[in-house]
Symmetry: D2
């Protein structure tokens, strides 16, 4: 394998990139000014140096001082009485950019597979339990489970609820899930039964 | 214009059919067995003969006895305390097939344009008002506005609410709208702000 | 099955139309002005009455006098020394509209399946042979095989050539096939090997 | 601009990558094992170090000995009597992989804009002229212009032909262009007029 092949293999792991486009990336880099490659290469190393995983919410963030806590977890203006549990960093970014939520986050690190047995090793359920247990009694009033609306998302919602219940119930912490119904662009004519059912049940 | 051109023009009015496919339909008919054309032609006439618009809910339905009321409006098992207002027949069919709703319907006949002035002539708002006014006082407990989630759907929701309020408020009739939030397949990472906002607001 | 279901079944046979769109067609017809249905129904019967299959080239055409020959076959300005063999009526229309060819046509009525045995019953190879045999010796100088560029199209080209050879060779009739190479929009970067091979072989 | 924003900007220049996917790439890198980033970074530097532009055909290639000539230009088995002029490296790779051509290449470095004036600075037409002039008289028997089938590709074909003619005609060098007609998957029914015209003109 020469450098072209090796780089193609690396680019193939990028999200949404197949063999063909991976190769195009390599040819693109070959034909660009050498400074471009140097800059890209050093920025990737910078990113690696600066990136830290927050020990509280487990999101990745950039830190020059190698702080252990991200800027959301240390922000005094964040509402620390609500905790939103999301699957992954990009979900967190999406909610954050929508400016519709001002509470804390927790990145579970994945969805819970419907069939597999070794669930706990895959998602940070133990870490989530510890976070809630170790918090001063009155901290969280509500935990919002915010997973994508898919069979695996539903299963994860169900699983996390069951795991947390023994901890949250005695503490009086409410567990909620994101609302369901029509989303932007939904046309009644083409809606599936579940969406209609949820839209009807949650009418207001 | 020969028959090919005339038929092409007619087929072009079919939902989702452009010039090219309209012409393909004509050639398809030309090359098919003559019995096929005869059958199609007579079924279209049958449909025309059998179709009636229900004088109560305004949906189109088939009636051999030329009844004025459709089978939903005359069904004693239908819950006559709820009325769902939909834009068009195909929306009604979609809800009906989902088996998630067992109340009455009303087909508004369109959405209310955001800019135009001549709204009333376009949708059956007067007919809807009359239906509610003329019903025995206790009939409807709730009117559900069930429009697609688009700017025009939102505008129609707003318009119908405002028009009905003077009638429904004195009668204690509740007006609701379909719930909003995540719909089947929604991925948090790619959700628009409105959907996230609704999902968060309507969490439960 | 009521009329709605029957019509849905009929529309499902239209080219490119599935169950869902077939049903939408029926609801569309139900909600349209009755005159529309009457017009559509009578135009379909007109088409059936007027359509004739040309006994010479086998294309379908409209004829008020129930002539047996289409307007191409009777046009004195058409170059009767070339015969283009096409798969179906819509291919013929496409070539005709391009105004790049002014010769005769023959509609084979299908492509020859690669695996099946009962070929002759499927396509009009016998009719094509008879047409060539029965023509005055000097009529055709060239027969152009004009099939789509697919495995089945290639197979049909091969099959027709072999079948005609015993007839055309003694008469000195040339058999040609449409040229191959880059077609409009072809990008070298994304071309398949066959297209590149043909483009290179047929360079000029 | 932090490192995330800077890297996003860089990835946005990758072929076919928009803002959204560029950002996903950055988050992907953040969440991957640090070794992945190190490997990617060093492979990009390797590529930069190894890449050379062939001084003869102007393609980019990898060379550990920093040779000035690529492996095609130095391959004694390549047919040096034919020269194929392509727009860009990826076109060359596509032809090469098809194993349908065994001659020399020349990468023009772009297509000639139809309206602009400053053409010569954009493509390597001077370099191409020099290459032909400086070659021993008998070297090239044919120059194949191999551009994509688009208005700009056609214009480039026309432009290069005109520029080369004063040089090639006295030397008896033939200039050809890739053949045109049906390409893989072309259906007659949906073909544009130019493709039908070329397919008919180039029939054989």
């Amino acid at each position: 394998m020469d450098t072209i092949d090796k780089l193609t293999e690396i680019f193939k792991e990028f999200p949404g990139i197949g063999e063909r486009q991976a190769k195009r990336f390599v040819y693109f880099l070959m034909s660009r000014n050498p400074n471009y490659a140097t800059l890209l290469s050093s920025l990737i190393l910078d990113l690696k140096k600066e990136v830290t995983q927050c020990k509280d919410c487990f999101r990745y963030f950039l830190s020059h001082e190698k702080s252990n806590l991200c800027n959301i977890c240390t922000d005094p203006n964040v509402d620390s009485s609500i905790l939103m549990v999301v699957e992954k960093d990009s979900d967190l970014e999406s909610v954050r950019k929508s400016r519709t939520y001002n509470g804390k986050y927790f990145v579970l690190g994945g969805l819970v597979p419907i069939v597999e047995k070794t669930t706990k090793s895959q998602v940070r359920i133990k870490e989530l339990e510890n976070k809630i247990k170790s918090s001063p009694k009155t901290v969280f009033g509500e935990i919002i489970l915010a997973f994508s609306l898919s069979p695996q998302g539903d299963h994860t919602d169900f699983y996390v609820r069951n795991q947390l219940k023994p901890i949250t119930e005695p503490l009086g912490i409410k567990i909620s899930s994101l609302g369901r119904g029509l989303s932007t662009g939904t046309e009644l004519e083409y809606s599936d039964n579940d969406t209609l059912k949820n839209a009807l049940k949650n009418r207001q």
